[in-house]
Amino acid sequence: MGTENPGRPNFPARPAATPFAAAPPQNVMPFSSSGPLVGTEAAGFRPTPPAAPQPTVPFSSSGPLAGSQSSGFRLPPPARYNDPSVPPPASNVPPTGGPFQRFPTPPFPSTVQAPASRVPPVGQPIAQPPAPPVSFRPQSQIPPVPMGAPPQSVNSAPPNMNVPYSVSDSSFPAPMTNFQSSFPGYARMQSNADLQPPPMQSTFPSHRGGYAPTPPTSSTPFLSHQGGYVPPPPVAAPLGLQSRDQMQYPGSGPPGSIQGLIEDFSSLSIGSVPGSIDPGIDPKALPRPLEGDVEPKLFSEMYPMNCNPRFLRLTTSGIPNSQSLASRWHLPLGAVVCPLAEAPDGEEVPVVNFVSTGIIRCRRCRTYVNPYVTFTDAGRKWRCNICSLLNDVPGDYFAHLDATGKRIDLDQRPELTKVRSGMIEIVAQTIRSCLDELPGYPRTQIGFATFDSAIHFYNMKSSLTQPQMMVVSDLDDIFVPLPDDLLVNLSESRSVVETFLDSLPSMFQDNVNVESAFGPALKAAFMVMSQLGGKLLIFQNTLPSLGVGRLKLRGDDLRVYGTDKEHMLRIPEDQFYKQMAAELTKYQIAVNVYAFSDKYTDIASLGTLAKYTGGQVCYYPGFQSAIHGEKLRHELARDLTRETAWESVMRIRCGKGVRFTSYHGNFMLRSTDLMALPAVDCDKAYAMQLTLEETLLTTQTVYFQVALLYTASCGERRIRVHTAAAPVVADLGEMYRQADAGAVVSVLSRLAIEKTLSSKLEDARNSVQLRIVKALKEYRNLYAVQHRLGGRIIFPESLKFLPLYGLALCRSTPLRGGYADAPLDERCSAGHTMMTLPVKKLLKLLYPSLIRLDEYLLKASAQVDDFKSLEKRLPLAAENLDSRGLYLYDDGFRFNIWFGRALSPDVAMNLLGADFAAELSKVTLSERENEMSRKLMRILKKFRESDPSYYHLCHLIGFYKYTGKFSKIHSIPSSAIFVIYRGLNMLVLFLVRTLMERFIQYNYQFEFRHWFPSGCVDG
């Protein structure tokens, strides 16, 4: 570049130690392109200067990109480059300092003349290394000098917890891996779609960057040099160290800002010739979430003291700094909280005993003490991280501060550090084991009532040997006989309870009374329990038919569907259920509804009880003990024994200017921001959305604190606190970069399901699609012009699965199709379940795993624990189903085992025994007397153990049976895989069609051909 650009002779003149001196010939090339680019930045937003026509081909394309990106940037780079106040690190500053100050001016004239036609300067800043990796290779072999020095300077910097960017160093490795995983995807895309070269190339260099943590403001200006000066370091670690430097000393030329590239160019060409069915897309190129849910590492690495993402996930960890920015983010802005999420062993949340000092919390905003608070005044005061109020430290809690301002007792304070394992493990384990042995637990109280057309209570006082049954048949005026003896202490009345349970099945053996006085029985149970609260399990076999709360058969009227009254079928018919739910919550009673009927049971009404009391709905349509028995046993046992927090309330606090405004899940709001949860357990998650109260946020960081106040099963009143911090960003691209697709999908699904309660299914689906499309369009607008994206949809790396999940969501049981596509009860129960699911389980339900089994089963050498080969998930696409194969399709709720048409008869015979020729959907899989069958059972057991929340029931599907069933697929319960299988073909078409339609709808000003690159590539 020295040769080409008069403004840059200084560069090669850098000390001989720099890589440039060592390998001048190679370096010239990068400089030639990057030099002008720097100029463009400084020049203030002009595209590539004429100097850019570089000798190498790659540059011609990538150069302009970089130029235009930086040109859109808001921060005038010159200010930064010239900033003399930047403290130079020992070795590398002097050389770099000089040249830098000169940057802005000399290249300026040349850039002004830049051919603007190439790339209009519209884009947002994205880090953009100018050259493809190939040209860098020679350089990277030379150890660049700047790499040595910066680490020192970084290390010497005092680690400050509260400054977001100080920890950015550590976060580097994540983006790296991220990129690499996604990289092959791009390559594939390029090969098969009509991608235009420039964007593709730009994806390549990005592996150097991935620096998402670096704030765009500081990093972007430098991006263009970095390409020229410093070869991409081959190792991740040094790079990470450098990143800080480069923010301060652009001259040292690090790749700091390449950050966003990666995701910015996950583009996907989707287009088809109008009117043709051919999607014009290779399904293999579509991104598939085969790794399952990947928690965003960026977030936790930027703020290493944040709580684990399993407890709290934000839909984007970049909090918009203004309302206008927030409004351009069309996706939900919020969080998904699973306060009691199950932790792997050794990672229990520590229990802190504050008995001596009282719980430490902020005087004003009531925030609990957490790792982000800062101690000042020699340890006598602490500053609240949420409202910045200076609080006194109570005498008993006082500890001196060390030289860096940290408390000397930090190691012993789990609430201030983020301890992963600890002293309290024993305590937690003890509590757990108590819960696991529910029958022996000394405080447990238990009671039973049965009901048909009358209500039967059971006196189980410990002095009795046999339980006494009392029948109340006056349903209009319920009274409870012997209120004190109906709910008895389990340990005292153990034998009576056992006797009762032994005799219960025989008591109603010959009962032909099919009436159900559900409402009165619920009221009676409420009266019995209202003194204590607790959990009420309702096992309901028919539609409530007597007394208050009786329900009518509804939902079989086809004419209602598609009208404005359709949603009425999905909300409770009788106000009784809502009122009862509110009363139950008031008295801390959680309701879990188990329904078994194959006929209409009105889950919409019954489920309301669970919805507002923090409970859950378990629905086993057409229950048969031979088939569903194991599932019920497992799920009931889990319901009874999993760690449960009682009488809880939950609140999420956040910093000034931001406020949580809406909450979604199974709970009742007791005040504007207080969720009442009579019972919480690890299988429940709650979503919430936040809004900006102020037009402009002035803080750098927003803190979130989830506090769950509850009674542990041991009787202690506890507060579980999860704290997280997230940076405030001023750039939409950064918000996308930090987005968490899982959390976004989770919030979106809850919003959609809520929408089905007030409007048509179609509207709910449309709202999901519309939001995704709007978001992608907004994203596209950031980069569209400069990359001539034509008919391509681009999406950020972080959200690359979002369209797929969105479409899967539209095909999920609560949302899919119309009347005939899912029975009303199944729809409602699936809706209730999805409203509670934690992120991971939801994603697995939406995009189940598909695993090929036959190869493993046939492998003679396979060892018992050799499950490695089974961990490979296949994309859910038709071409992945080999008719010779045996597949396991696991959505977290059931296993569908798919027998290929041409599966070897041996395998089928071994697994199914004599049933091998029977109708597969009627066969139950059981262990046979051969090794293969045992092996399969072991595999299934293993998978079940890895996901214990729900029991996976097996459904067998034989593809060769499909003829004749094709048309009425929905009526066959076990045809799920078939539907999905078809669905995925659909999915692709759907993706193409719907998204295209939407895009067209929203971009009618564009010409049609722009959207169909296959027809007109350079549109």
């Binding site: 106000q575 809502k578 009122q579 739910a581 509110a582 008031k586 309301t608 507002y612 809406s662 009742m668 709001l669 007791r670 005040s671 504007t672």
Partner: protein, 147 residues
């Protein structure tokens, strides 16, 4: 005859006052709920207790204008009545305790608009009342002068 009119306007005035008081009371409760001064169960109970009586009184109010052939007043009050009937038929007239906070703002807005509406009617009724008082008094004067 004149005195009948006066009595009617006095009654209408009182009913309108009662309606305003009820609406205002509900607004106060909702505001308290928003500020967390009152718990949700109590607020729902106290609001729901007076919702139906208010609807009935408002219906009677409206009907009385129709029966006494006060067409203008009837037309003014009939939209609120229709709205009440619609809410009642849709079974949305009661304050939903389970979803209270989701609909809090809408409920408050609805009641504020209603209060404004009642205020307008209040102004009209006050005018009409003053007019009929004046007429009554002048009639009485006329009557005395007749003697």
């Amino acid at each position: 005859m004149m005195s009948m009119d006066l009595i009617f306007w006095i009654i209408a005035f009182l009913i309108n006052l009662a309606l305003m008081a009820s609406t205002f009371y509900q607004i106060v409760i909702l505001t308290d709920l928003e500020a967390d001064y009152i718990n949700i169960y109590d607020s729902a109970t106290s609001i729901n207790r007076i919702v139906l009586p208010e609807f009935i009184v408002q219906g009677v109010f409206c009907a009385s204008f129709l029966l006494t052939l006060h067409w203008f007043m009837f037309l003014i009050t009939v939209p609120v009545t229709c709205y009440h009937v619609m809410l009642f038929l849709k079974r949305q007239h009661l304050f939903d305790v389970t979803e209270a906070f989701r609909f809090l703002n809408a409920e408050k807005k609805f009641r504020l608009i209603k209060l404004g509406f009642y205020l307008v009617i209040f102004a009209i009724i006050t005018g009409r009342l003053a007019l009929s008082v004046f007429e009554f008094l002048s009639d009485a004067d006329d009557a005395t002068q007749l003697f």
